[in-house]
């Protein structure tokens, strides 16, 4: 965190030292506001447990969107450049479509099966981004068309309800009783698991200003690493295609939630409303 602060101070100072402070929009350089991000929830299921392609690639999906909420603060430090800090929050679910290689030790027997767990796992994400907007020639920050880039940290918490998220083994033979019964596995590690990943944010947008006070910003942004994993995510749903390592119930969250988080962050369309403060 210390390094992060130093980084921000250096950025702001370099703006002051090495360039002339830009005019801002009508002299105003600081904008704060709210942003709404969305992208189609093609697979995986959104916060409402819906996806366009149905669960387990079945048909009968819904029109569903992933959504994120953002709070941001931007400062135009040069005529055509501004620096911003944003905090994004989202909730989503994972439909547990990936099959886990689950092993149960019951009745003296070890049973292993590859199966998708029932229920949904919950994901709550927090993205922190420090980004720079470079406005196209002729425009003046914070007004106009721009390109944005910057590092982002995606932190997310995964949780599950053991009563609903489980894998059931039907007809497991019990040598003691000589009967067959079902065995349930609902151990997917700790119920709340935290993960932290870095990514690079790129975006293109246009900012309009109304009444010299209200900004309307719209565009599209992508997270580069997430985007580059698109193909990987598509082919390695159940196992690592290189080393063949399986997803197990114990690493299930680690393997599937990352993919889901990448899906949510990969490409987003956004609309932001802000206030030009001073």
């Amino acid at each position: 965190m210390k390094y992060f602060k130093v980084y921000i101070i250096l950025i702001l100072c370099s703006g002051k030292l090495y360039s002339q402070l830009g005019p801002g929009y009508m002299g105003k350089r600081v904008t704060a506001g709210y942003g709404f991000y969305f992208s189609p929830a093609i697979v995986g299921s959104n916060a409402s447990e819906a996806s366009i392609i149905g669960r387990g690639n079945a048909t009968g999906g819904d029109i569903a969107f992933n959504s994120m909420h953002e709070g941001f603060l931007e400062f135009a430090f040069k005529k055509r450049a501004s620096v911003g800090f944003s905090f994004k929050y989202y909730k989503t679910t994972y439909d547990n479509a990936a099959e886990a290689y689950v092993t149960s030790y019951a009745n003296g027997y070890t049973n292993s099966q590859q199966k998708s767990p029932a229920g949904f796992s919950q994901i709550t994400g927090f993205n922190y981004a420090l980004y720079f907007k470079i406005f196209n020639k002729r425009y003046v920050a914070p007004w106009g068309r721009y390109f944005l880039f910057g590092p982002t940290i995606n932190s997310f918490k995964c949780s599950y309800d053991p009563s609903s998220m489980k894998v059931e083994f039907g007809d497991v033979y019990n040598s003691n009783t000589g009967t067959y019964s079902s065995v349930t596995v609902n151990d997917f590690g700790p119920q709340d698991q935290f993960f932290l990943r870095g990514d690079l944010l790129l975006g293109w947008g246009r900012s309009r200003i109304f009444g010299n006070r209200v900004t309307l910003d719209y565009g599209i942004n992508v997270q580069v690493i997430s985007l580059s994993f698109t193909l990987w995510d598509a082919v390695s749903e159940n196992a690592n295609i290189f080393d063949g390592t399986q997803i197990t119930n114990l690493n299930y969250f680690e393997r599937t939630s990352k993919r889901r988080v990448r899906e949510v962050n990969r490409v987003n369309v956004f609309v932001k409303v802000g206030l030009l403060l001073f």
């Binding site: 929009y25 009508m26 002299g27 002729r138 425009y139 007004w143 200003i209 109304f210």
Partner: protein, 716 residues
């Protein structure tokens, strides 16, 4: 109190009597005076709305077309009125109004409906609008031979007004244009349009004559007025351009620089007028002569007011024409006009300045330091002498034949002597100083011009000591002598002999050697400031070497909407948007404590005649500035304006801002933001923004760009 009233009365009377210029000594460019008429201060949109409401009340035909006409005509009149070229209450306009009184002495009602203005233009024309505005170009007054000719032209224009030719012509033309869309041959439509216009002109000729008849003017002058129009392309007088004009005792031009005979004047009176809006002169003259035949000219006069007054007014117009030719960068015509006037006013300081400026400008032109812009009135440069008729041809011939460095000698020779004649004239002083710098760019230094006495001695020695022994030796000797003669007896080398002998100032200022390593543009004294390289200019952005500016004179910002499907609302829309733009400019400037001096003819009150004059000066400056490209020194010489210093000290800034928005409507919409700052001292553009955006000119775009412009100006 009575005494006081009497004093004021007499002072007013005396002003009327003695406010004439003393043209023998000098000439002051024409200015508007007094109170600005209502048309200058009215909102054109309100006028149009009222007129359209009036139109709709009546039961006239073609209301839709007439509505468009009212809008377009009013905007056109506004454009002329507020162009800065319209003169109000000046001597010429007063005189023209006097003619109106003479012509309409029996029709007070009509007299009150008419407003006559003079336009600062060298064009030989007059025109009227259905609203009763009649405009006379200075060029026409300069060409008139008698007051009666002007009176007849006025009668002709009044007839256009009383017969509503303007609106009728508009409606007819629009209907004909519609026929083109319906498949009619375009050329046939043009001929038909011209025919209709010619009918109006003929009617105005005859109706005008009826009005002219009610006066005491000589009938034959009505006919002669057409001669004036026929030869309008020639200077206002034709006098032989004498070789001796620019010669002095020690500067005699070679005969070859002058034509033995100048070309004759082509008679175009009976030219084909099928595709002309006016009947040819021959036809018009015949029509008038038929009317004159039946009438007696006894007791009729050429000048109803006074011949002296007419000639004075005409001379004013001719002097002003000299300045306007300079503004148009038409140096040969300016030189010839000044030459003609100089015959009558040999000691006039203004004429000495005009001639010096012309010589200086021609030198710059020859040296390639003055290049006409592509939109210039003279975009092809100074005409070849073969395309010029009569006596002025000599000037064009001289320009073509005399090499550039010799022009520098001629210009310096004339200008320095003029400076000596008018030592208090700082302009002549600056011009001659600049010409000394131009001389430093010739291959000649002081030594090349002070060989007069040595030359004779040397030749003498050659002749005395060498006695040729053979034919070949004799030829060699002659060749040597001739080459020496050719060099040393070059006609211009003796030009300054008397000045070198008698004038220490001249000798001191004259460059000692040929071209120096650090060449000067020769403009630096005339516009006292050093120049940065033209390469520092980068289109579409501000200049890197720009100094900080915190105060500018802002001219009327423009807001132009270009629409392929243009309708009558485009002007209105642009007009409303222009008001918003003006407010934005003011608010952005005030937010940054940026001082704005607004010289906007659209925001004048009746007492703002001085502002109108200042606007006119700057407008002329802009016109001349844009008429030429920046030269390699990043400068554009301005010759028609000498009052810039007054204006800059009056308003406390040397910078003027021209800004505006262009909106191009179509399938794709584009917005152009334009802003340019010029330094009036150096004539240089110091800031330029010319940016194109996709889409409409939204408020945030205008706010951002205008605010940024002031920010950049203030912060450098």
């Amino acid at each position: 109190m009575k005494v006081c009233k009497l004093f004021f009365f007499f002072s007013i009377i005396s002003n009327g009597l003695f406010c004439q210029q003393n043209l023998k000594e000098n000439f002051t460019p024409l200015k508007s005076v007094g109170v600005l008429p209502e048309i200058f201060t009215q909102n054109v949109r309100n006028i149009i709305k009222t007129e359209i409401t009036e139109l709709n009340k009546g039961k006239e035909n073609d209301k839709a077309l007439k509505t468009i006409y009212l809008t377009e005509a009013n905007y056109e009149i506004e454009k002329i009125i507020k162009s800065g070229n319209t003169l109000i209450n000046d001597e010429i306009t007063k005189y023209l109004n006097k003619l109106k009184d003479v012509v309409l002495s029996n029709d007070a009602a009509l007299k009150n409906k008419l407003n006559i203005f003079t336009l600062k233009s060298t064009v030989v024309n007059a025109y009227s609008y259905d609203k009763g505005f009649i405009f006379f170009d200075v060029g026409l007054i300069a060409q008139a031979e008698t007051e009666a000719q002007l009176a007849y032209i006025l009668c002709h224009e009044i007839s256009h007004y009383t017969k509503h030719h303007n609106i009728q012509g508009y409606v007819k033309n629009k209907k004909l244009e519609k026929e083109v869309y319906e498949g009619k041959n375009e050329s046939d439509v043009l001929i038909e349009k011209c025919q209709y216009s010619k009918e109006h002109e003929s009617e105005a000729d005859l109706e005008g004559f009826k009005l002219f008849e009610t006066t005491n003017y000589n009938y034959t002058q009505a006919q002669k007025a057409f001669d004036v129009l026929q030869y309008a392309h020639l200077p206002f007088e034709l006098t032989e351009f004498k070789k001796t004009f620019l010669e002095t005792e020690n500067l005699k031009f070679p005969v070859g620089y002058f034509l033995k005979d100048v070309s004759s004047i082509r008679n175009n009176a009976d030219d084909d007028d099928t595709k002309s809006t006016h009947p040819n002169t021959a036809k018009r003259k015949v029509a008038i002569s038929e009317l004159i035949k039946a009438r007696s000219n006894a007791g009729r006069v050429d000048n109803a007011t006074s011949e002296t007054e007419f000639k004075y007014i005409r001379d004013l117009a001719r002097f002003e024409s000299c300045r306007l030719y300079l503004k148009n960068r038409d140096y040969p015509n300016a030189l010839y006009a000044a030459y003609i006037l100089r015959e009558k006013y040999p000691d006039n300081q203004f004429l000495a300045e005009v001639i010096s400026k012309c010589l200086y400008a021609i030198t710059m032109y020859k040296k390639g330091d003055l290049r006409y812009g592509s939109d210039s009135y003279m975009d092809e440069g100074i005409l070849s002498y073969t395309k010029v008729e009569s006596f002025p041809q000599q000037i064009y011939h001289l320009i073509e034949k005399m090499p550039e460095n010799e022009w520098a000698v001629v210009a310096l020779n004339y200008t320095y002597r003029a400076h000596k004649k008018f030592p208090a004239d700082s302009l002549l002083n600056n011009l001659s100083d600049s010409l000394f710098k131009v001389m430093s760019r010739t291959p000649w230094g002081i030594v090349d011009f002070v060989r007069f006495s040595k030359k004779a001695d040397t030749i003498k020695v050659v002749k005395d000591t060498i006695v040729p022994k053979s034919k070949t030796e004799l030829i060699a000797n002659l060749q040597k002598e001739n080459s020496f003669k050719n060099y040393d007896t070059a006609y211009y080398k003796d030009a300054f002999v008397d000045l070198f002998m008698n004038d220490k100032e001249f000798t001191k200022k004259f460059p000692t050697a040929g071209p120096t390593s650090s060449q000067s543009s020769g403009f630096s004294d005339y516009r006292p400031r050093s120049y940065t390289s033209a390469k520092s200019m980068k289109k579409g952005t501000r200049f890197k070497e720009m100094e900080k500016v915190s105060k500018v004179i802002t001219l009327e910002p423009f807001y132009v909407i270009i629409d392929k499907n243009e309708n009558e609302l485009t002007n209105f829309e642009a007009d409303e948007k222009q008001e918003i733009l003006i407010n934005t400019i003011n608010s952005c400037a005030s937010k940054q404590n940026f001082e704005l001096v607004t010289l906007d003819p659209g925001l004048l009150t009746s007492s703002d005649v001085d502002k109108m004059n200042d606007y006119s000066v700057i407008n002329d400056w802009m016109y001349e500035r844009f008429d030429a490209h920046e030269n390699t020194y990043g400068a554009v010489p301005i010759f028609s304006i000498d009052e810039i210093k007054k204006i800059t000290s009056k308003y406390g800034t040397t910078h003027i801002l021209k800004t505006g928005i262009g909106f191009i409507k179509g399938k794709k919409k584009y917005t152009v933001f334009y802003a340019a700052i010029y330094d009036l001292r150096t004539n240089k553009m110091v800031y330029l923004k010319q940016e194109v955006f996709r889409g409409k000119p939204n408020k945030d775009l205008i706010n951002a760009k205008v605010y940024q412009m002031f920010y950049e100006l203030k912060n450098g």
